[in-house]
């Protein structure tokens, strides 16, 4: 049996979330005709970090991709349900997924800097191409601010014009975080952001996440229990059923989920009996 992961030694988050920034209700997603997740409902507290964990294929990434409606950009993929962002459904009639994605940013599993752009161009790509900012001076300022928030500015300030591909993997991932922050989102989705990185780069990004939570609502998908325990205030546990349809098993303050899970399947997963 595995050791229970150690928890961050901080005050436990309350069981009920007082200030809900994002509220997913009965989210379903399909790839073609195959149902991938069924009726997932989950609340995310403002300026908190929520970890969504579960074994491979449990639909956690699919669920995350429904939260900014990027799931439906793939051919044949479809999603349905309600996701309330500050009380308004991003799936409601007349809502534009393109505009929604400016309010809900995303960082991907593998660093994906735009290959033909410099470091600076990568960070300004969002505000520049969405028409948020036009003035070169303001663009540069916002880029520096975003790079600073992503704890990368010091390392790249002398080579902002260099191709993004010249950075290391960990730096590229922080560049992608800066790129997402430059659009000034309210929510930041992170899809296993450290799974392609070495331990040192992982540590840097985990430290960074703590700081980000003071400005943003952070939702991170991870298959790494220790990571969920280390960084998150709230934890949700997902599992696929016999037909590989993902469902939410339980969620709550990270402290409680890891010490007193209410569902035996969560207990089994945390103690390493499967997954």
């Amino acid at each position: 049996m595995m050791e229970r992961p150690t928890l961050a030694a901080e005050e436990a988050a309350p069981e009920t979330i007082a200030d809900v920034a994002l509220d997913a209700r009965d989210v379903n997603a399909w790839y073609g005709k195959k149902l991938a997740i069924r009726d997932v409902s989950l609340e995310f507290g403002r300026n908190s970090i929520t970890a969504i964990m579960g074994p491979s294929g449990c639909g956690k990434t699919t669920f995350l991709r429904c939260l900014n409606r990027i799931h439906e950009s793939a051919m044949g993929a479809r999603s349905a349900g309600q996701v309330m962002l500050d009380g308004r459904d991003i799936y409601g009639p007349g809502t534009n997924p393109v505009v929604t994605r400016r309010r809900i940013g995303m960082v991907f599993q593998r660093p994906n800097p735009f290959p033909t752009m410099s470091i600076l161009e990568n960070v300004t790509a969002g505000p520049r191409r969405t028409g948020l900012l036009k003035n070169p001076r303001l663009l540069r300022e916002s880029a520096e601010e975003a790079l600073t928030k992503a704890a990368l500015f010091g390392e790249v300030k002398d080579k902002l014009g260099a191709p993004a591909a010249t950075l290391s993997g960990g730096q590229q991932q922080r560049l992608c975080i800066a790129r997402a922050l430059a659009v000034k989102p309210e929510v930041l989705l992170m899809d296993e952001p450290t799974s392609a990185l070495d331990p040192l780069s992982t540590l840097k990004i985990e430290e960074l996440m703590e700081n980000l939570a003071s400005d943003f609502t952070v939702i991170i998908v991870t298959h790494n229990l220790q990571q969920a325990a280390r960084v998150s205030d709230y934890t949700a546990f997902m599992l696929g059923d016999a037909d590989r349809v993902g469902m939410l098993v339980e969620h709550g303050p990270t402290q409680r989920i890891f010490t007193h899970p209410r569902d035996s399947r969560t207990e089994d997963y945390i103690t390493g009996r499967f997954g």
Binding site: N112, R129, P163
Partner: protein
């Protein structure tokens, strides 16, 4: 081993002989006058193929201008949205079109752009060339765009760029070197095409820069000169052939350079 080696040597030898023969025969014909003067009437020695070179540039340029948006956007469609029967049908069509003899394409251009107007034109030749370029353009641009990881496009979508914005600002720049390679190869393919020109551009002895009129095109001039009974014209045909081979060579080398520069970058 011996047999394959022998055949390889034979193939290489034939190519070298061909190149050498064209150079030996054509070199003597090439001089400043050949490159800058108009053809002279039969019996008058000297003169050049300047109008043919310019005509080639105009016809190929027009064809390229038409093929880039059509071929490129079809490639985008197939690579990004191309699923299901419709897309398969377009891919199949492009493949079939790639195998259609150029003389048949020329005949088609003649039927829809020459006959109705009772007038040969450089434009009808450019149209035929566009049709000949499209299959290669469509296939290479689809492959080039497919080679850009989907995560790159999703990165742009996640920033709140619209669908077309993600393609224009992020995917196409990343795919550009390979698209340019395909374009250069497509241009190289049509540069030496002669058959469709016979009944589209038709040829001209004069300076003609208006593609609405019959035009001189280098490949066509080579054909006309080569089948003529005059030694002076034969010589000029070789000179023209040398220029064509050189142009195609330059295009092929440029295409290779575009690819190698890309691979070095990644």
């Amino acid at each position: 081993m011996i047999l394959t080696g022998f055949c390889s040597a034979l193939a290489a030898g034939l190519l070298i002989m061909l190149l050498g023969y064209v150079i030996v025969q054509g070199w003597g014909a090439i001089n400043p006058a050949f490159l800058t003067q108009l053809p002279r009437p039969v019996g008058v020695s000297g003169g050049g193929v300047a109008n043919g070179i310019v005509g080639s540039a105009i016809v190929i340029g027009l064809a390229t201008l038409m093929a880039i948006p059509i071929g490129g956007l079809t490639g985008v469609y197939l690579a990004v949205y191309g699923r299901g029967l419709g897309a398969e049908f377009i891919r199949f069509l492009a493949e079939v079109l790639g195998g259609v003899p150029s003389i048949a394409v020329g005949l088609f251009a003649y039927t829809i752009l020459v006959q109705p107007f009772s007038h040969f034109s450089g434009f009808s030749a450019a149209f035929a060339f566009t049709v000949l370029m499209l299959p290669l353009m469509v296939r290479t641009s689809e492959e080039a765009i497919r080679a850009v990881p989907i995560s790159i496009r999703e990165g742009a979508l996640a920033l709140g760029l619209p669908d077309y914005g993600s393609i224009i600002h992020v995917v196409l720049p990343a795919a550009r070197p390979l698209i340019i390679t395909g374009l250069l190869l497509a241009i190289a393919r049509i540069t030496g095409e002669t058959a469709p020109l016979l009944f589209t551009a038709f040829g001209s002895q004069f300076w003609e820069v208006n593609p609405g009129n019959p035009m001189a095109v280098l490949a066509l001039q080579i054909f006309t000169y080569a089948i003529s009974p005059y030694d002076d014209w034969h010589r000029q045909a070789w000179g023209g052939a040398l220029i064509l081979i050189f142009a195609v060579l330059v295009l092929n080398v440029a295409a290779r350079l575009a690819v190698s520069r890309r691979t070095k970058k990644l």
